[in-house]
């Protein structure tokens, strides 16, 4: 890419592959956390957790699904660049 088309410094450059993967991971992590918060609340309530235990269970589900989603999103970004 010629330098002349970059008036905003590095802003004009295409984000590198690693940047895209990182962004995909962050986005997947956020989505997974939100989804885990919802579905985790339901399933933990269903198996009869209440109070402090419920908080722990929901947090664990959120982290798990965030990690899973983030990994898959990162791969999905990685295979397309």
């Amino acid at each position: 890419m010629p330098v002349a088309v970059a008036p905003y410094g590095q802003g004009q450059a295409q984000p590198s592959c690693f940047d895209r993967v990182k962004m995909g991971f962050m986005m997947g992590f956020a989505v997974g956390m939100a989804a885990g918060a919802m579905f985790g609340t339901f399933s933990c309530l269903r198996i009869g957790m209440r109070g402090r235990e419920l908080m722990g269970g929901v947090g664990k589900t959120m982290m798990q699904s965030g990690g899973t989603f983030g990994t898959f999103m990162a791969i999905g970004m990685g295979i397309r660049c």
């Binding site: 802003g11 295409q14 984000p15 962004m23 986005m27 989505v31 919802m38 990994t71 791969i75 397309r80």
Partner: protein
């Protein structure tokens, strides 16, 4: 899967199907490697072999189910694009829900509703994240979202699905 210039419609099905298979196979490989490693009997040799076996049996399955999801999803997405004549986040959300419902069809109506709700919520979250991301990116960089600026695909000579502009 959402925030770059997507393929035009009929080819998007193939693209999503293959992409989803690859994604599921690689991701399943990673997770199954860890799982097989932990579940195998102790001893490095056993553990390596256990993780290898787990990858070989489970990763293609996971890739296959991802591919089914992705293919059906973008098929319904393209159908909705054709029927509604526009392309917006509601298409994705609806097709996510419908995909969930169709794939759970053999488990009865209750499972269908649950699975449809799950698919719809998931796709709504993903779309929301994509919209927020592009808004954030366009507020940060004065030239607009840098991520979405792939070189535009060559316009198809005769577009059988009409117009594909984004109407968000």
């Amino acid at each position: 899967m959402e925030e770059y210039a997507r393929e035009p419609c009929p080819w998007r099905i193939v693209d999503d199907c293959g992409g989803a298979f690859t994604m599921g196979a690689i991701g399943g490989g990673i997770f199954q490697a860890v799982k097989g490693f932990r579940n195998a009997p102790s001893g490095m040799n056993h553990r390596m072999r256990g993780s290898m076996t787990a990858i070989k049996t489970r990763a293609p399955q996971l890739g296959g189910s991802f591919a089914v999801w992705g293919g059906l999803f973008s098929m319904i997405d393209c159908g909705l694009v054709k029927v509604r004549g526009k392309e917006d986040p509601w298409n994705s959300i609806t097709s996510g829900a419908m995909t969930g419902a169709i794939l759970a069809a053999r488990n009865g109506p209750v499972a269908m509703v649950g699975s449809a709700a799950m698919g719809g919520i998931l796709l709504a979250l993903i779309e929301g994240a994509g919209i927020m991301l592009s808004r954030f990116a366009s507020s940060q960089f004065p030239t607009g979202p840098q991520f979405a600026e792939e070189p535009a695909p060559a316009p198809m000579p005769a577009a059988p699905f009409g117009d594909y502009r984004q109407y968000q």
